[in-house]
Symmetry: C3
Subunit: 319 residues, 3 copies
Amino acid sequence: MQITEEPKIRIESSRPSMNLRHVVESQQFTVPLLMELFDRTRLMERIVARGGTLDYQNRILASLFYEPSTRTRFSFEAAMHRLGGRVLSTEHARYFSSAIETEQVEDSIRIIGSYSDVIVIRHNQEGGARRAAAVSPVPVINAGDGEGGQHPTQALLDLFTIYRERPIEGLSVAFIGELDRGRTVRSLAYLLAKFDRVKIYFVSPPELQMKPDILEYLDRHEVKYEIEADINKVVGEVDVVYQTRIRPDRVSSVASQMRYAIDSSVLPKLKPNAMILHPLPRTVELDKTVDSDPRAFYFRQAANGLVVRMALLTMLLDR
Amino acid sequence: MQITEEPKIRIESSRPSMNLRHVVESQQFTVPLLMELFDRTRLMERIVARGGTLDYQNRILASLFYEPSTRTRFSFEAAMHRLGGRVLSTEHARYFSSAIETEQVEDSIRIIGSYSDVIVIRHNQEGGARRAAAVSPVPVINAGDGEGGQHPTQALLDLFTIYRERPIEGLSVAFIGELDRGRTVRSLAYLLAKFDRVKIYFVSPPELQMKPDILEYLDRHEVKYEIEADINKVVGEVDVVYQTRIRPDRVSSVASQMRYAIDSSVLPKLKPNAMILHPLPRTVELDKTVDSDPRAFYFRQAANGLVVRMALLTMLLDR
Amino acid sequence: MQITEEPKIRIESSRPSMNLRHVVESQQFTVPLLMELFDRTRLMERIVARGGTLDYQNRILASLFYEPSTRTRFSFEAAMHRLGGRVLSTEHARYFSSAIETEQVEDSIRIIGSYSDVIVIRHNQEGGARRAAAVSPVPVINAGDGEGGQHPTQALLDLFTIYRERPIEGLSVAFIGELDRGRTVRSLAYLLAKFDRVKIYFVSPPELQMKPDILEYLDRHEVKYEIEADINKVVGEVDVVYQTRIRPDRVSSVASQMRYAIDSSVLPKLKPNAMILHPLPRTVELDKTVDSDPRAFYFRQAANGLVVRMALLTMLLDR
């Protein structure tokens, strides 16, 4: 039996990431921390492009998804594999694991934390990730917790997708859709608030508008924003159109749902160098005819989930 | 942080496999391509027998099963592991993934294709694999799509199982069971049609007989076949008995179901060197007393799934 | 294509483990075999502490869970990963796999055994693991089979947790809870019976007491035991308090359920060096206020699942 010993791995960096223990909400990320993450992400892009790998072969990531999300789970697990690491996975722990029926998430995390080096949790209740982080012996990453909760790594890859194309300072962004339950919108709004001269437009039916907590946060940080019900008044003004879903049951009619859709009739109104983002999956609010438009960035955005999560994992595992 | 670079891997072969991009239906496979596959499969047999491995350690296979099939999924995933590769897995995406509820399979494939090097898809709808292949940035393998669809890799391992024992040219095969919905039978019939002097017998209750599309294909390719309702008229004539399921709800009575069963009473009628195949799982149509008969090849057939799929993956990943 | 060959791996050991082919029930383990397992477990503790790995990189473990148990599955899979090996996993085969609907477990095991090097099975029926072992071409480990069945690896990690702290000879243990369906209690009682001067107390409501088969086994092996309904008569007497669940529907009232709970009011009655164990998950029978007590060993007990299962896997894979 040969035993290989694994030296502690560190990526040399001028910026200390010691303050990053868990990733629960996007507010945690300072601009310097974001810049470190994005530096590492660019490095990961080069490594993946060369078909290279890293030396995390003795590290284990546990995916603990209490509700399913194949794409998000795959992007975390692929990231760990591309780092050379290993994965424990649960697709739908809520119904399948005895854990959630009879046990506090705290006990599950204590135990799973003794089997793994990092835990990615998608919890069905707001605050689930925070409860997990409070007791976990290893880093915890929030992969979405409840409708009103957050999805911080989605916001990180959204921001990186924009950052790769243009400076965030002075950016104007329109968030469109079902904003009161927009987990990804909430998380990205917190991040944008950290940059200078950002202008945000919240575009949705009045009954589905962004909740006050975010608006108060933006006020406190002196971020300019506007509440708007008419998409046509906004789409021509912004650098980034961030489209999200409107579930049919949330609006009175299909007509009012379609009033917020992006399709070939909206494209001419956009700035020539605008970016169209969408967290996906999409329904009718983003027409397939948009896919071929050079301003459609949503598939690149999804692909960026791999490299951003690789970079984030190295920051957590190198501690 | 040490970075290992992965050289592009190629298996030296006199036969080019450049025309194999996706595996959607068995008709794609020419006889030369089948021979290349089987050459590689024999090599894989030797590697597995020696407990060896291959150097695909930076390649990722994504199993996207919209409906469950533990055995098929495990054989693909084990094949990728035996190649030294890595696996992303979903056991039952249809109910668990937000993907299928709200999203076209096309979007899921575009995204998952940016996280992986090859996608194995079991879709619940006929044509699902073709839709996936049409948009995928990486090779797609059809692991079964709908009842009337295909299961081409099952046909490849079925054919390899026969090929290992005898020449395919001049082979006589009886397909028995619920043929109108026989995904594996359909795929294997397409493959057999590519070889000379093959004779096929389709044996089933008249109401469950093979659909015209296959019969017309065989006519076009001048393959001899017979439609038969009485199993006893056929089993003594053929080199291969390919037994499949008859679901009780598809026939009027258990008696008419059992009329097509293979049990100890049928064995004496078979040729001494006949081969009994079955894609498994089985119910009453294949009695356990047959397992000990030297002509029972169905467990070896299932085991061959590993090496055939290893070989197929190398052909797709080496492109 | 480079081919690496894998030499057969053996851990040098004075004690032969040749008689360990499958792990179906705890009675299989002799004291010498337990001592070999615990020697190997201590070695695994050192390897894991150093972040080391072992060279089982070409070996595949298949997790076949017909009913879900995220913690048990993760501990087996993490153990295989820490050995450098690979994992095939199914989270809930009972409902998802076509296997269990239409196929005998025997057929599934024969097939999966041709894809993997060891199978871990959690079956929903008592005797399921024994049926699997009877036909499997590779070692089978019982990860729990039915309510009245066994969970031998849980008993092994329970015993190791005690063994690390004190000699098993002369130990006094109180099993508390729903003993008639206590799979883990049954398995551990069988193990304890192999050591000298052990004293067991079975503490539960009379209607949920331990079944006669275990009591007769203890009689045959001249193990002292007492049947007791009052927890207070016992907790002060024992070295180990092994607490288990009482499901509300099994007792007449919450009051009678709480009569068997361990909380801060019970702690003063325990010996100063007593150990509190629980297989987890817990409900009301073990209060969180106990977690901070130095006598609370249940999280260390769960963590020990990793190293004990690593050691067990090496014994099965080195054969």
